[in-house]
Symmetry: D3
Subunit: 287 residues, 6 copies
């Protein structure tokens, strides 16, 4: 039982089947893979490998494997590097054994999953590596690519990050507009205590140290420090004295993240690791 095993628990197949089926349907359309169907003999078997063409962290093998299996249950896929594993240029990810036609027909969809999700894992891991040795953990947000949230959240875990809310229903996050509508933070928190069940955490977004003090006084689980610079964040940490979990957000990138982490905040959230991840280049080659 390795740490990796706990960290990267993939979503069960029955939850991602519809995502993979939709991706295949997009690519097969109505007539299917015309080129392979017309040029390749349906009985010709082949061996292929999926390998990385650059450095990064792998994610998405669970979806890629499902894509091959849906196209042809006879394709055998042997995992050489599991999701969450480190990739160098040339690292072999998986071996495939099946008909050449089926492998080629599923190739693009499989690589699209691997490339995108490994991109998310790699972007996450860059921030994780840059903050090594600090207490700060990297978390994702709800700024995800529509339709891929559960896979992107999984990719964040593959990259060593943690998951924030999966949606609007598994935790409370009170923002400016909510506070204004509720007539202030105090009545807002009071209302939540009246109405909220006991298993839901509450986070409040603050822009100033005054708001932070009010939030601490009212007692919330987590406080989002929005767009504060490192000196302000340090002051916030000092002021909080462990009375709440602190999360920094806004302007997080490879240049800024280390300094922010060193302020002592508990979490640093980044939208870019999911909404602007650069595709990792992986390829499939016949042996």
């Amino acid at each position: 039982m390795t740490t990796t095993d706990f960290q990267t628990n993939p979503p069960p197949d029955f939850l991602i089947e519809s995502i993979v089926r939709r991706a295949l349907a997009e690519d097969f359309g109505r007539a299917g893979d015309l080129t392979s169907d017309l040029l390749l003999d349906g009985r010709q078997s082949a061996k292929a490998i999926i390998a990385s063409r650059e450095r990064g962290i792998l994610s998405g093998l669970v979806a890629a494997a499902l894509a091959f299996r849906m196209v042809d249950t006879e394709i055998e896929l042997t995992i050489k590097t599991p999701d969450g594993g480190k990739l160098e240029k040339g690292t072999i990810v998986a071996q495939l054994d099946g008909t050449a036609r089926a492998i080629l027909s599923a190739e693009r969809v499989a690589l699209n999953f691997l490339g995108h999700l490994s991109g998310v894992a790699t972007a996450t891991h860059s921030l994780v590596a840059a903050t090594k040795g600090t207490r700060a953990r990297i978390v994702c947000t709800r700024k995800t690519i529509p339709g891929l949230r559960i896979l992107q959240k999984y990719a964040v875990r593959c990259g060593g990050g943690f998951n924030h809310r999966f949606g609007m229903d598994d935790a409370i996050l009170v923002k400016d507009n909510h506070i204004a509508a509720a007539g202030g933070l105090e009545p807002a928190i009071s209302r939540l205590k009246d109405r909220l069940g006991h298993m839901i955490k509450v986070e409040v977004e603050v822009d100033t140290l005054e708001q932070l003090e009010e939030a601490l006084r009212l007692g919330v689980d987590t406080i989002l420090l929005d767009n504060m610079n490192p000196p302000q964040l340090s002051e916030a940490v000092a002021l909080t004295k462990g009375r709440a979990t602190l999360e920094a957000s806004g302007g997080i990138n490879l240049d800024s993240v280390r300094e922010i982490a060193e302020t002592g905040v508990d979490y640093i959230s980044s939208g870019a690791i999911t909404h602007s991840a650069v595709n990792l280049d992986l390829g499939l080659d016949f042996e």
Copy 2:
């Protein structure tokens, strides 16, 4: 009837409803928008605007509008900038009039569509602008984010690009593996002529000028010049003399695209505009 109108025809609502519904379902989960539901009065009305926070090209309003409508049919959305329109920092995209609760509940999903698809349109437009004045057109590929292909293809059109194949079924693209399996390009093309209907175009991928000459001799519609440098591409154009459409691919970016376009190729295809687009920053603010 403007040019834009022709270019950016959005997919009809019935084709993207399931995509938007899935995105909302991801965010609402089972309990919905707990924060807004508990803190906001369901009857409190509000006006809000969606505006861009940076320069770019807009795409995705068609999906964002559907998201607001699905959450609450009473929300009125007034378009101020249509999909395909140019955005500066501060450009107003749309005005919203509805209950504060419904607007906030749909906000993130709507912005996720707008941010991602505008990112694709903007990336496309950068290449289009960089090749202005040449004959080369920018086209996308099948390297798309799983589940979003029809919307990404639309975003490419919003950015001034053209669409390549939507899937494996609407055109033939013969690659190395196909040629090897068919015993050479000549038997491959002969087999296609035997078996393919009259309304499907055929493209062949070549790596060398020798392969290009063979492809031209056999008569195909389009030839993909893979990873050739500008001098090779120029030679290919000279050699082809208009007998086939030429498409350059591999290593396309803002630095290289102009020089490639000036070789005289007809199309330049880029995977990055869809698989690695950077989110465009748009925001929703209450008035």
Copy 3:
């Protein structure tokens, strides 16, 4: 903005449409409402009322209204008692105005939703009323009727109860088997602190006061006191001194609940309010 409004926020239509459509599909089958179709003129209009035939709390109007609308968008439904409202024998719930045929065709499905969900709300409210004046809140569990969880959770809120976890993903609940597999409570909690994001609460199930003390020492959000009798519960409350939220479960019914609530526990959870609710008798009559 009434308390009721906050409490009973119904799930948005787009989340329950598939539940209502499936229920209608079950009843219409392939040939539809043969009796009404053959005996009633499709243009004959009618007015009907839905009324309660016994005392209770209403829930499910949101689903019933959707059922009528799906069968015929022209049916007008006027709400006389909102979900969460008190019902006496004869209380009018809603008025309907449409064709007699459409009203009769949708009647049974609409009443099935209303009867079942009002049964849940009424069972919940009985426990809520029986514990009035104590600090204890009534919560539901994951012991729900398959396919109806979001509507049953809503019905619990209509009855004045609170919601526990909606599923296995929005909070942690550590039970015997988990503790055994993790090698004890201490390593289990340590592992959770290592791996869990900051917005998820942790509950631990204990059977004895010794386990309670260990859980308190390790610091968890909530402790489930399973099958303890009132004296044990009182001792647990005294021992806890507010360091964790306490939830009593096991053997909860109208006879036992008051005495349990008076021990000072924070929450009392009941599976019976969702898995064994008795249908509330409501009827539809033409005027």
Copy 4:
């Protein structure tokens, strides 16, 4: 070929897969079984048994088995008591062999199906047992829990009952409102004879013996005697002399059903066996 085999034919898997998938999706949400995923090693195997904690009739194993299989195709489930079998406190229903994690992840959904459907079967069987030796058969109605009709109808068969209509399309049931709208029973029946195919049976609901005589004179297959007391029912049986099937309904419970059955009616229908069944307590324990 036992009697049980005929009686309890379960619906084929392909008809209940979507019901089970929806139930699992409710419980797994987006992040899945957080507790088991974080605390249990994914390779740790376990053996468990499902056993009854009280007396009753089993139903729902077909759905429970599908739930385990969908979560993990490797779980082996060995049936010890088939659906329709008698349960005592401690009766073993099934043995499970698989990973501890997968078994725990599917446990609640599987037990929710078993508990509810066994509740329906047990309630049915109580009425069947109470009428033993009479000619009366117990039948269900369309008053079912939305979304579970085919499984509840199956559970009724498991309990020894018979199925009435599955929906509004497989038989005619003429009620007051239909008769009024058609201008009387005679024109109603005449219209049905004109328009109805030959494979659909016709039932008419009557409240009085006068209506019964009219229905007999007009010739219908079945007559529903609504809310009649035992003396009235006896008179109805005497008056009918076998010219139609007689079904008693209204006020059916364990106290009243024997006396009603002894009047000689052919069928007794109960809504409570499906809409108000009390969950049967079954549990899953690791060995």
Copy 5:
């Protein structure tokens, strides 16, 4: 309230929406109606009529109207001839008012429904007309085009025919294989009486008069006389003396049907009216 109204009750929209959506999805694919999108201005309005180009009976307007509405909710469709109406060459079926682009995009799907279902209605009506004055009614079978059963059954009603079973679940039809497996007709019927609910009719297929006599003696609702010639059918009618409904099947066509009807059988079933209907030619023209 006309006879037609009763006869042709169309399935409710919510039951056929998925059929129409699938048909549109087939035709729009991913990129939609490229030709109209690129050549027509999206604001150009148009008027069009749908008219018949040959004689027949109309069916399918309910699906065609839904197709136009799904493509563009703004298209106004005015019915000139209702489903079930008689068509001559040139009869106007409906008028359309909307954008030219939307009308053209939906045209083919709408006409495919109208052409096929009117073909079924017309084929049915030919048999109905040929048997006019006899007691025989024309019924369809389960030999339908996959995916269109509820619409084909409706088209049969539009043509003046009656519906046989909609599926294997709404009536019993005992064939040779069943009788063999049950050990003869007598044990088969006995078993059915033991196990079948009271609202399901029983039909038995017989090939000979001896089998007919046995079926009559055992008492079944309907007897299917399979592939008997007119003299045999006449003898069967004489022998039956009204003790069961008689249905003739096998070799039914326009040449044979009158003679078969005149034997006095109650029903004549035809698979060809649904599985081999010839498309009726309808067209859409702009005004």
Copy 6:
């Protein structure tokens, strides 16, 4: 690798599963196969054969096999004649080995697919055979039965035909209404050249030789010669001199097709082979 193998590539299972599931759902309804369930022992095994009762070309085995597998994964189906194979009266198509109950329950749906799709293949093959020796190829159209397009297109290939467009998105077909709206053929083609990607072919429909000349001058891939008689078609061929692919349509039947093919056109398109195919009679018999 036979020619047949290339020609008849069936759609992958994951694309037709929803079509087959829908067809089974139509036939099983909610209660399933009542007759077989009540009369046959669920353990009784049987062997059966599917054989043709008339001459033709087989298609649909891929869907039929899926139907049997969905009903019972244990049924073994051995193919004796593959799709595309020639059938005589008595030709065995497949052998089945499984339980009698499962085979009977799936029989009708399987035969409905086989009968209809073999009907399409046979109708196609008749035209193919009638044009043997000419250069003309037979192609289908978008006039297909709603919901079955991908299977009908496959059946056309089984019959030796070729596929035209699968939908409105994989090729351009410019008709009268488009030309009128665009202000003439010249501006229409110019607009297409401006806006259309490089992998989409363009076809233009013409009624006269003048229009043909204009289309040739403008340079399109294919020209549809609509409703021209053989002399006109011959003139069109002469005039075209190979500058475009020519497709004849309108009034195509077994009587006319040879003469049309002999004019030298490249393709002949027929709607009747898909929208009016006569069911081919196949049967299932127990051994």
